[in-house]
């Protein structure tokens, strides 16, 4: 498995994006640009569409308007290739109570056609190695979160989409996550993070979702 080289030119862009959830227009006219090694921090009040934007970037939700492109190629042209280059860590940890920590991660790796030898270092990285054989039902909220984040390392993908990754993490785990992000970026990876906490991410661009809220008519 070759690591992505830092020189690889990568550019993930969105132009004129609008998103609707139910009957409500969440944001409109949103542009973003994320290049190799870049980080995009999504901020905004609850309901301003941070999660929606991440899901839209992941291709789970089609944009109402606008388009996403990767290196200038529309993402919609090859959705499978787009899925192969991203990780989304959402609010849900997607853990099965009866599977062990190691099995959970091995499945995530196999699902992305990655060999299982990335699993032990991923566990090590988030200090889960001593929990490897425990079933997920006995994990604490913070440990569950760490396991969900360990998926990022269990299989390589250039684009990380993280939705409130700090929820439930203690300070040490937060530092682990920040270190993992820094390494990922140094390798030419891209990160988009929705967060309420100010995260110390060097040279990160901030996108305030509130700026793209649709103007309310007096209805």
């Amino acid at each position: 498995m070759s690591r992505p080289s830092p020189s690889a030119a990568r550019l993930f862009e969105g132009r004129g994006l609008a998103c609707r959830r139910g009957d409500r227009l969440v944001f409109q006219g949103l542009d973003f640009e994320l290049a190799a090694g870049g980080a995009l921090v999504l901020t905004g009040p609850n309901g301003s569409g941070k999660s929606s934007l991440l899901r839209l970037m992941a291709g789970l939700t089609p944009p109402l308007l606008g388009a996403l492109s990767w290196d200038g190629v529309p993402v919609s042209a090859d959705p499978a290739a787009h899925r192969a280059r991203l990780h989304l860590v959402g609010h849900q940890d997607a853990l099965k109570p009866v599977l062990t920590v190691a099995e959970t991660l091995a499945f995530s790796a196999a699902l992305r056609e990655t060999s299982a030898d990335r699993v032990p270092p991923a566990l090590q990285r988030f200090h889960l190695a001593e929990l490897a054989d425990l079933p997920c039902r006995v994990l604490s909220a913070g440990q569950r979160r760490r396991l969900a984040l360990a998926r990022l390392l269990a299989s390589p993908a250039p684009l990380w989409l993280l939705d409130e990754p700090s929820t439930g993490l203690d300070e040490a785990s937060m530092l682990d996550l920040l270190a993992a992000i820094a390494e990922h970026r140094a390798d030419g990876g891209l990160v988009a993070i929705a967060t309420h906490l100010p995260l110390p991410l060097p040279a990160a661009r901030t996108l305030s979702l509130a700026d793209f809220a649709p103007r309310r008519s007096a209805a």
């Binding site: 899901r55 992941a58 291709g59 789970l60 939700t61 089609p62 499978a80 290739a81 899925r83 192969a84 991203l86 990780h87 989304l88 959402g90 609010h91 849900q92 940890d93 997607a94 853990l95 099965k96 009866v98 599977l99 099995e103 499945f107 995530s108 196999a110 699902l111 992305r112 056609e113 998926r151």
Partner: protein
């Protein structure tokens, strides 16, 4: 291929560790069939006459019982999102889930069916056709059921909705499955019936995962 096999292995492991599901389906199958002699009386001729139909109808209902859990758990805990975002096409993932579902519910039904048919005094010539017909028919039940399970995902009273969606689609399998057994008992060839069941399975193999995946995508938005 790794991803497909990993999906199957994970679902099998989940089913075996959670245990209850597969066992419940078989228990329901046995109990429901056992109720019939109580309901219609113990005359061997009558039971023998209805054996194939009873075993098949009960097998359909038993298969239906486990269907609402096919995607439900993964949908609720975010696992379905993880699967949908994997490079593996969602259609293949659905097929893997159907395979695991059949191995944990359909296959046990096929294994138990001859014993239950014996309980209902099925005539000697009917056992092999029953097993063959069920072996060909039950995978279709899992596949067609997956479409219903995907469509009813997230709906209130999903279980009831699922039965209404899926049971009418099970009718062809039921008709030809029962006919295979009855024709064998009457001394006719069963090949045509088995071929129709095979045709149904071959049609469901590509179509059902495709339809189920199409129904899952909006649920993930």
């Amino acid at each position: 291929m790794t991803a497909f096999l990993a999906m199957v292995a994970r679902d099998l492991r989940l089913a075996l560790r959670q245990g209850s599901d597969a066992a419940l389906v078989v228990a329901f199958f046995v109990l429901a069939v056992v109720l019939f002699p109580f309901g219609v009386g113990p005359e061997p001729q009558l039971l023998s006459r209805i054996a194939a139909g009873v075993v098949w109808v009960t097998a359909l209902l038993a298969a239906l019982l486990s269907l609402d859990r096919l995607f439900q758990q993964d949908y609720e805990d975010g696992g379905l999102e993880l699967i949908a975002l994997a490079p593996l096409p969602l259609e293949a993932a659905v097929l893997a889930k159907c395979l695991a579902h059949w191995l944990t519910t359909g296959l046990p039904l096929v294994v138990v069916a001859p014993a239950l048919a014996g309980l209902l005094q099925l005539e000697a010539g009917g056992y092999l056709p029953l097993v063959l017909a069920m072996a060909l028919g039950t995978p279709s039940l899992s596949l067609v059921g997956a479409v219903g399970a995907a469509l009813s995902l997230g709906a209130r009273r999903a279980g009831v909705l699922l039965s209404l969606l899926v049971l009418p689609l099970y009718i062809p399998v039921l008709i030809f499955g029962v006919a295979a057994v009855e024709q064998a008992v009457a001394g006719f060839a069963i090949r045509p019936y088995l071929m129709i069941l095979t045709a149904f399975l071959l049609a469901a193999l590509p179509l059902a995962p495709w339809a189920a995946a199409a129904a899952l995508r909006p649920a993930l938005e």
